[in-house]
């Protein structure tokens, strides 16, 4: 009898505790599904919104390519800190760059530019093929991974930004590029820690146009 009373007392205390600290809530399923549909992450829309509202308005924040290349040649460690950013455990540095260069050659995988209107060296390569990786997403420093609820969303956004470059920038680059033409470009580059040969520097373009006549 005493044992039964103790068990009942324990169950009563437990019930009281879980009344104060509930283990679950019951919610109508349709209500949750409607909320989820309304708030679902759409990477295509998010990438387009970021592109229009932030990226295109930040082009003037990019560093000057000749200046960065000179700094990297003089003091790579300082230059990477001053002009670039490194994410997480990666040992690569990302740069957001702007420059003007004369088209030296148009290759299958990209357009080779010489910096400056009269240059002839292969200083920069603007790729024109399929894009992979997160250079565009991470290169500008405008996006913060912690602002996304999970890494999958962040990765999807990267893929969509690459698609936007492929769909809207690369066709324009291919159309404009011809040897001797001078182009102005803004884009993102990734330089590995052990990379010492920087020319041509591969820069994924996010904006490109014919340079204004001098």
């Amino acid at each position: 009898m005493k044992r039964v009373l103790l068990i009942l007392l324990a169950l009563g205390l437990l019930a009281g505790f879980f009344r104060l600290v509930p283990l679950f809530h019951l919610v109508p399923l349709r209500q949750i599904q409607a909320l989820a549909a309304a708030g679902e992450f759409n990477a295509t829309n998010a990438a387009r919104a970021f592109w229009d509202e932030h990226l295109m308005k930040s082009l003037n924040q990019a560093a000057d390519v000749p200046q960065v290349l000179a700094a990297l040649a003089a003091d790579p460690v300082k230059a990477r800190t001053q002009y670039g950013r490194t994410l997480g455990l990666s040992d690569s540095t990302l740069f957001y760059l702007h420059g003007t260069g004369r088209v030296v050659s148009v290759k299958k995988n990209g357009v080779v530019l010489a910096l400056g209107a009269d240059g002839t060296a292969a200083d920069v390569l603007l790729p024109t093929g399929h894009l992979f990786g997160n250079t565009v997403r991470d290169g500008t420093g405008l996006l913060d991974a912690s602002a996304f609820p999970n890494s999958q969303y962040f990765n999807d956004l990267s893929t969509e930004l690459n698609h936007l470059v492929e769909a809207s920038v690369l066709p324009q680059l291919r159309a404009l590029a011809a040897p001797g033409v001078t182009l102005t470009f803004t884009g993102c580059a990734e330089v590995a820690a052990d990379e010492t040969e920087l020319k041509p520097l591969k820069i994924i373009p996010i904006a490109v146009q014919l340079a204004a006549a001098p």
């Binding site: 509930p22 283990l23 809530h25 919610v27 109508p28 399923l29 349709r30 609820p149 999970n150």
Partner: protein, 325 residues
């Protein structure tokens, strides 16, 4: 003190002595070792293994072994995380059960207890050798984890749940408080309760325990159930700490926990050992891992060193047992 009693005292405190020597050597070798931050870091890291090892100690004391703790850890963490993140939909009732943090913890513990109970039943009712029964459970629980998660991590579990793994209370990490509380509970259980005495009796001589009228099967089932529950606690801590339940969580953790128990002086034959010995074993493994990392020793060599330490500990234990006989 004569030579024989000195030997006895040395054997009694051999784990503590090994730990003190390691701490002294690593403090001399690395200036970053004996700092408050690093000490707290080591304690936080060992808290997971400590939870697993406490359960493993109880199981080994009873004369068994539990190879499934790493997989149980993964499944308990995954189920808790999945329910916390997505709830449980009941389409036929048009209802979603939204699980709260306490609810997820209770369910996680429940998963561990059910799997532990199943191990106990396999060992006692179906007379399977513990090695085989828990090896089977290792595979079953890992497979269930993959099925539950679809092979993908469950992330974004919120700050309240994350506090369990990353929070602090009075400057000490929460996982350390939890593992200290569990050490206290296991000490009480093994030293101050009839269950504890029965556990040693069953592990020491199962036949004698049976003839003495002890409910051996019930004790063994309870031991495996507790082992499962403690593995679930470890799973909840890992998940909370990483803010993610990964399907591969806890892979190989059973080896670290068995190593901690053995290094702590618990006999693999059962019936001899202690909770405090296991605490020392966990500290030795934790300090060893941390020290080798601080000294930039390659992870491959770390495995070799850990294996060698286990062999030395078991050899010392065997040598001691031979002298006793």
């Amino acid at each position: 003190m004569n030579r024989q009693s000195l030997t006895v005292q040395l054997r009694r405190f051999q784990s503590l002595l090994a730990l003190v020597l390691m701490v002294a050597a690593l403090s001399a070798a690395s200036p970053n070792f004996l700092t408050v931050d690093n000490t707290l870091n080591v304690l936080r890291q060992i808290s997971i293994n400590l939870c697993l090892s406490l359960g493993m100690t109880l199981v080994i004391l009873s004369g068994g072994i539990d190879l499934s703790v790493g997989s149980v850890l993964a499944l308990a963490g995954a189920v808790a995380a999945g329910l916390l993140k997505n709830g449980l939909a009941l389409p036929s009732l048009n209802l979603l059960i939204q699980v709260t943090v306490p609810g997820a913890i209770v369910v996680g513990l429940g998963v561990g207890m059910v799997l532990g109970w199943a191990n106990g039943v396999a060992v006692t009712r179906f007379k399977l050798p513990p090695f085989v029964a828990t090896l089977g459970m290792l595979s079953i629980a890992r497979g269930l984890t993959m099925l539950w998660t679809g092979g993908f991590p469950v992330t974004g579990l919120g700050d309240d749940f994350g506090w369990l793994g990353t929070g602090h209370w009075l400057g000490i990490p929460v996982p350390v408080w939890i593992s200290v509380a569990l050490v206290g509970a296991c000490l009480l259980l093994t030293r101050r309760t009839p269950f504890g005495r029965h556990l040693y009796a069953v592990g020491g001589n199962e036949r004698a325990a049976t003839l003495s009228g002890l409910a051996v099967n019930r004790i063994k089932i309870m031991v495996y159930l507790l082992g499962g529950a403690l593995a679930a606690v470890a799973g909840l801590l890992v998940t909370a700490r990483l803010d993610s339940a990964t399907p591969n969580a806890g892979l190989g953790y059973e080896l670290d926990s068995i190593a901690a128990v053995v290094i702590g002086g618990t006999s693999l034959a059962g019936g001899r050992g202690s909770i405090l010995g296991t605490v020392l074993g966990c500290l030795i493994i934790g300090v060893l891992n941390n020290g080798l990392f601080l000294l930039n020793v390659s992870p491959f060599w770390q495995q070799v060193v850990k294996g060698a330490v286990i062999l030395v500990a078991v050899a010392a234990d065997k040598a001691g047992s031979r002298r006793d006989h």
